[in-house]
Symmetry: C2
């Protein structure tokens, strides 16, 4: 298949591109800028521009069999600062993409949704895909609205959409801006000898998924004929305090932690039920948390040597 | 209380204004144009403008204790024709309103949501408020996203929002454009001696609510301190074929019906569970379907005499 990866130069996108190439697909990337940590890949066609610009999209869609839509201008921690911008860029931008797709007759699309925010405070853990969607922040509200539109476009406009609801991805090439990705953020701070900040008592449980495992399920999902939502998580949860413990082991020295007041927006425990993806795609996570954190640490060390 | 009614010149809005005045409130109306069927009401302050224009909103919010947001630029039957416009006008417009409210310190807001579209195909009938929201058309997707934002703004910005999820309102002053309100549309066609068109076999069941009963629950809701969603329906469903039977009785002559292919977007049965509104507000519907249709018929006759 020839696959257009929107956001293919980002953290998750770059790993998905790698995996699609390994699976034998032809890859075109649309992104606003080049990859941060690598030079352009041989054999990949790059188009630079904004996915919300329909002229760019229509050009990028030429000759394409399927689209993977991974682009987002916001992260969970910042979207609430300007919900209108979140809606304008991500919801309207995605609607414009879907309308362009139906116009040029490209029907297959994978949307990267958010297993950590679309459900809101869960009734049951691990959370299955048919759990009600009750998002409590803008990031999750927009992702939910996009998923609803995907379904509506499937019913009325012949779209073939699949949504991958990722839990908390981590791994090499994650931006460590401090607003997303506790594992990269913690590792980076610990390596710099800085304190780690934890909101609340550290009991908050999240489902950490290595980005290579996420890329694999996305590559399997786009090539399938399945539609609808699929959770993508490790399927098991880890408390923040346990993350810090593993971090100490991985780095091999003590780390100073400061606890800050809990945030209202953090649900206590979020772990995804990944039965559906296992049964439909034969997918299971291959990288455990300890190995994944070591892998991320090694990558960060290499970065530090190159740039430090 | 001094209440700003956005959309107060529309079908539902005009009845809500009547009811608020009866309850002793002071009313200010913001709408794009004057009422279609009545001259401006004595003692009501009218501001004409667009609710999506924040300059108008900020001016209209002056001196106000609470806001009732009933404005919508779309109806369920047309929103899917241009989902981007639906999002731009109604979702972004509402976010702009909520941001203006928090800026000037007005926290109480009633939002008129849609019990007929936010739930999507129901798991159980009658549908309770905690039923998952799985809208399948743009109108419902936008209403759902707005409800999610209301809740997010309650948690983080001190908003006090209540949503009234109306079923299928009907009654005097309903526009009969053919795209909304089967009862008015059917009555009008029958009075003109025209055929009535039914999509499907007429077995589709809806929860028809007289607009005066809806206005009453909205007036009770805004004056309460409750937040969250409240269904507003008759609590009982009626098939389209039964509507036609009552119509024949009300008008007193036979009516010709033509059946057209069923539409994908119509769920088979939609009836709301109204226990919560009854328990919290002591509200029950006073106007049965037969009486309500006669009332609507008399109003349409009067209109026909005045304008015909």
């Amino acid at each position: 298949m020839k696959i257009l990866v929107i956001g293919g130069c980002g953290f998750i996108g770059s790993h998905i591109v790698d995996r699609l190439l390994e699976h034998g697909h032809t890859v075109k990337v649309l992104d606003r800028q080049a990859e941060q940590f690598r030079t352009p890949l041989h054999g990949v066609e790059y188009v630079f521009g904004d996915f919300t610009d329909s002229a760019h999209i229509l050009e990028a869609l030429t000759g394409v069999d399927a689209v993977m839509h991974l682009a987002s201008t916001t992260v969970p921690g910042t979207a609430d600062l300007d919900p209108s911008a979140d809606v304008r860029n991500n919801l309207l931008g995605t609607l414009s993409l879907l309308e362009s797709m139906t116009r040029v007759g490209v029907s297959r699309v994978l949307f990267l949704s958010s297993g950590g925010t679309v459900y809101g405070p869960p009734d049951v853990v691990p959370i299955p895909e048919d759990h009600p969607l009750r998002p409590i922040n803008s990031y999750g509200i927009v992702k939910t609205a996009i998923e609803h539109y995907l379904q509506a476009f499937e019913a009325t406009r012949g779209l073939s959409p699949i949504s991958v609801r990722a839990s908390n991805p981590y791994g090499p090439r994650q931006g460590h801006t401090g607003v997303q990705g506790v594992i990269s953020t913690f590792l980076k701070r610990a390596m710099a000898g800085e304190q780690i900040e934890i909101w609340g008592d550290g009991s908050v449980v999240r489902d950490y998924l290595h980005v290579c495992d996420l890329a694999e399920v996305c590559a399997l999902a786009i090539a399938s004929e399945k539609t609808g939502p699929y959770n993508a998580g490790f399927g098991d949860g880890t408390a923040l305090t346990r993350i810090v413990d593993i971090l100490r082991e991985v780095i091999g020295r003590d780390i100073s932690v400061v606890f800050k007041p809990a945030r209202k927006i953090d649900v206590a425990k979020s772990v995804l039920d990944v039965t559906r993806a296992r049964e439909d795609f034969g997918w299971t996570c291959r990288i455990g948390l300890r190995d994944g954190m070591e892998d991320t640490y090694r990558w960060l060390q290499k970065q530090a040597v190159q740039h430090g």
